[in-house]
Structures are given as structure tokens and as C-alpha cells.
């Protein structure tokens, strides 16, 4: 048995937190992800299965929805990303696949993304330097994909925080962009 130490996307043993002015940027490594794409002609059946799995209807266009255990956000027409804490759902993709069977194609996305939580006030002032999305107009429960530092990232707006997913292989680039923008604002 190898004695391997897990590393976060930023290459450390502990997730990184940066506090700059009124905002806090925290790396959140403990999330399992799975994408679900409904198959052609199976969209309605798939959404019924996802509703049962999630405990609430699968989110509509550009929306995020949280059930009692899992949460999900819309990433394209009839495509969703499911999220759950990794500790309790290391097999999230298998669970989602079991729920929707042949109505959808499911891909494990856990190792593909780095997740950052942005908290604090004035987050729109930070985000307006980073991407095209109008954060001031984006309500809680909205989820969009856009470009940050040339990287395709998912941005999910919560009541008083923002969740950001970027490509894991470019985690340091994205982190650098966040820190640089935050320092220039605050």
C-alpha cells in the first residue's frame, strides 16, 4: 500500500484561504461533481428521475437548485452539474447514473474542477473586474458560465457568497487572477 498524501488543486495539503479587504477567497476541495446530459428524446423522463434524486425539480435555465442532500446547477440545455460533499458522496456519479439509468449520460467531474468560495461584501466590485457577467443583476440562485482570465468558469450566485468553479489544471492561474483583482479593488 502506498502512503500517498492528498493535495488540493493549489498544490498544498490544506485548502488555502486569502482575506483581502472585506472579502475572503477560500479553496473548497471537498466536493464531488457529476455532469448529467439527458439523451435525445429522454429529456422529460430524465428530469423526472433527477427531480426524485434531487428532491426538487432540476434547475431551469441559468439556475441553481439545492435539495436536502444534493445540489445541482444548469450548465446547458438539458445538461446539469450535480454537487455533493465528497466525504459522504465519493461515488456521486454512480448514484446519479443509477437514478437516471439510460435516460442520461453521466460523467464524473470531481477531479476536473477547482472550487473557490467568495464571501464578504462588495463581491460584484470584484467580479466586474474578472468576467462579463453582471453580478449586480445576478440574483441568488443564478448559475452561469463565463470567461475569467481566459478560463471557462462556472459562477454560482448565493445570497451572500459566490461559488466559482474553474478548470483544476489552471487552479493557480485562476487563484492568481482572483487575488490580483481583489487587491486592485480593496
Amino acid at each position: 500500500m502506498h502512503d500517498l498524501a492528498p493535495m488540493t488543486a493549489l498544490g498544498a495539503s490544506e485548502p488555502r484561504t486569502d482575506t483581502i479587504g472585506p472579502i475572503r477567497i477560500t479553496e473548497a476541495p471537498d466536493w464531488a461533481l457529476a455532469s448529467v446530459a439527458a439523451r435525445l428524446g429522454q429529456e422529460a423522463t430524465c428530469q423526472t428521475a433527477l427531480r426524485k434524486l434531487l428532491g426538487t425539480p432540476a434547475p431551469g435555465v441559468a439556475a441553481q437548485a439545492s435539495g436536502p442532500v444534493l445540489s445541482a446547477f444548469w450548465i446547458g440545455p438539458h445538461i446539469w452539474m450535480f454537487e455533493a460533499p465528497y466525504a459522504t458522496h465519493p461515488d456521486l456519479a454512480q448514484q446519479v447514473k443509477a437514478a437516471c439509468a439510460d435516460t442520461a449520460s453521466v460523467t464524473d467531474q470531481t477531479g476536473a474542477w477547482v472550487r473557490f468560495e467568495l464571501t464578504g461584501r462588495d463581491l460584484p466590485r470584484l467580479m466586474e473586474r474578472l468576467c462579463n457577467l453582471d453580478m449586480g443583476a445576478m440574483q441568488a440562485g443564478h448559475a452561469r458560465r463565463s470567461v475569467i482570465e481566459h478560463l471557462g468558469c462556472y459562477v454560482i450566485r448565493h445570497e451572500d457568497s459566490i461559488t466559482l468553479y474553474g478548470p483544476r489544471s489552471s487552479a493557480q492561474t485562476l487563484h492568481h487572477a482572483l487575488i490580483t483583482a481583489a487587491r486592485s479593488v480593496f
Partner: protein, 95 residues
């Protein structure tokens, strides 16, 4: 340039990539009799109008949907934006 995405609303053109003439949707049947000339036409022959042009755009840095954008190449006005899926279906295609 702003493209008014039918699902997501106005999006910056930076998020899109351009594919070409919307006629590319209408791929000929390669197994049909005499498909050679049809494919020659499909692959090489394009109109290059000064005025309204229907184009395929891909929302690569967004929801990754394909769009048919009707655009005036002289004034850069965008006249309409539709999901390519809806356009293909309206032409009688299954997807």
C-alpha cells in the same frame, strides 16, 4: 458585439466562436446516389453576401449551445438569434 442568446439573454461575443454559413446544418446524405457533387457544393461553395447573412455561432465559453445568428455584414446589425437545434428541427430534422 453583443449576441442576444435565446436562453441566456445578451452575451458578449468574446464568449462565442464562429463556425460559418448556417447552410452547414443541411449536410447532404453521404449514402445517397450522386452525393459527390452535393458534397462538393456543401464543402466548397458559399455565398458571400453584402447584407443579411445567416451564420452558425457556438457559445463555447457559455452553455455550449449552437446558434443561428442572422446578421447584416454591412451594418453589423444582429437581426435574429435562434437555437440551431430549433432551426434544424423546423427543417424537418430529428435533432
Amino acid at each position: 458585439m453583443i449576441i442576444n442568446h435565446p436562453l441566456l439573454g445578451p452575451c458578449d461575443a468574446q464568449e462565442f466562436t464562429y463556425k460559418g454559413d448556417a447552410r452547414l446544418i443541411d449536410r447532404p446524405d453521404g449514402m445517397a446516389e450522386g452525393s459527390g457533387p452535393a458534397f462538393y457544393d456543401y464543402a466548397y461553395l458559399r455565398d458571400n453576401p453584402a447584407g443579411e447573412h445567416r451564420e452558425l455561432w457556438f457559445h463555447e465559453q457559455g452553455d455550449r449551445s449552437w446558434l443561428v445568428v442572422t446578421r447584416n455584414t454591412v451594418t453589423h446589425d444582429i437581426i435574429s438569434v435562434e437555437l440551431a437545434r430549433d432551426v434544424a428541427r423546423s427543417m424537418g430534422r430529428s435533432r
